[in-house]
């Protein structure tokens, strides 16, 4: 699992959470909320889908790490690798 693989998995989830959004040009280092219409409930959906699909837990104190695609990859890739 590379960081790029991890980003793809996160984008797959966001595609289901925010199906009206164009995800083809997401800027990895820009906050997701600044480039997509995502609210706090959507982030809870992302947390839930990580739990359901990948058995990965994101404690509330770590939600800040889901701010951008880059920070997601930074935070989640080791968790994916630990599952492998």
């Amino acid at each position: 699992m590379t960081k790029e693989d991890c980003k793809k998995l996160v984008i797959d989830i966001i595609a289901d959470i925010a199906p009206d959004e164009d995800l083809s040009a997401i800027k990895p280092d820009v906050r997701l909320r600044d480039q997509l219409q995502l609210d706090s409930m959507d982030f809870l959906d992302i947390v839930m889908e990580l739990r359901k699909r990948h058995n990965i837990e994101v404690p509330e104190a770590d939600y800040m790490h889901l701010a951008s695609l880059e920070s997601c990859a930074e935070y989640l890739t080791p968790k994916f690798q630990a599952k492998a």
Partner: protein, 412 residues
Amino acid sequence: MKQGRIVITGIGLTAPNGNTLAEFRGNLLRGVSGITTVDVRYMGRHPAGMCTFDPLKYQRKKDVRIGTRAGGISIYCAREALADSGVNLEGRDRGRVGIYLGITEHGNVETENEVYNISQFKYDTKFWTHHHNPRTVANNPAGEVSLNLGVTGPAYTIGAACAAGNMGLIHAAQMLRLGEIDFALGGGVSESPQTFGIFAGFKSQNALAAHADPTKASRPFDQARNGIVISEGGCIYTLERLEDARARGARIYGEIAGYCVNSDATDYVLPNPERQAECVRKAIAHAGLTVEDIDLVNTHATSTPQGDIQECQAIGEVFRSRSTPPHINNTKSFIGHAMGAAGALELAGNLPSFADLVVHPTINVDNLDPQCDIPGLVINQPRTAKRVDAILNNSFGMLGINSTLVVSRFRD
């Protein structure tokens, strides 16, 4: 005290056999049923009425995902009613708009879905969705409409079992008369076929319809009827005070003439024809009319062996004195029982009779039950009436709630 006159100026609906009033009415006159079969969780295929409107006509995909089916149906109907009325909310005080939707139940679908969801995760509740509470609060369908339209006035549901569709209109008329609001969206909604619990409940009660041909499964008054066909649907009206409707040159479908809501206070599920007859009589009196003035009676009959007989007893008794009976029909034979939407949808299917003087029939009556053989029943073929100036619409529900609404032809 002379009460203010309330008129219907717009209709939006989705029924198992039509997504507009024109389509719905056309199928009622052509004898076209909308009943099909659906897979019910744990129970296999059963007859049911499902709607085919496009949810994305008025909602984003994300809103459909987060919201409920009842919310989506309500938004579609409310938007269609607004468009039909010609009212643009942009130029209105949205705090003076009321949304009142009748529901039989709400939240069963979403709760069952979540229980099923966590069953896939060994019933670990950490997999229970955070969307559950906003989806299952009783005001959800009306609340979703308020979000979609940006309406900031009162928006809530009225729980009244299967009498609820009429209740949405009645409550809207009351709030307009009280001056609490200036414009109302009132009606009823149902997402019930998505919940196995309602199917299983009626099945255990020996009141769930079964038939090899789903289009024949809902057959009120027929000797072979064996229960209810559960349907989804919605119907929302725009209602206004007459002076407001006149001032903007609105088209007027009809006038809320009178109504009654009462309770049997006798049984959880069994209807009480005495109280039903009382409800019908009081609604006629509330309208300032007599039994002679009623031209069309739309029955609540749900195709259960006992309930249909009891309503026929009630109607037969109320109109016994008439030398020429009113025309009596039933809409559930086409669309099944749309629960909270039933009363509102069934009224809509009959309102065009003011204009075309045609009464749609009740279909699927191959052998009329002698105990349902009341004068005036319009069976299997539409009938042309000499006069349709007053329509009486019955909706009755569990725990013994009855609602009767009388709508009259609009006359200046």
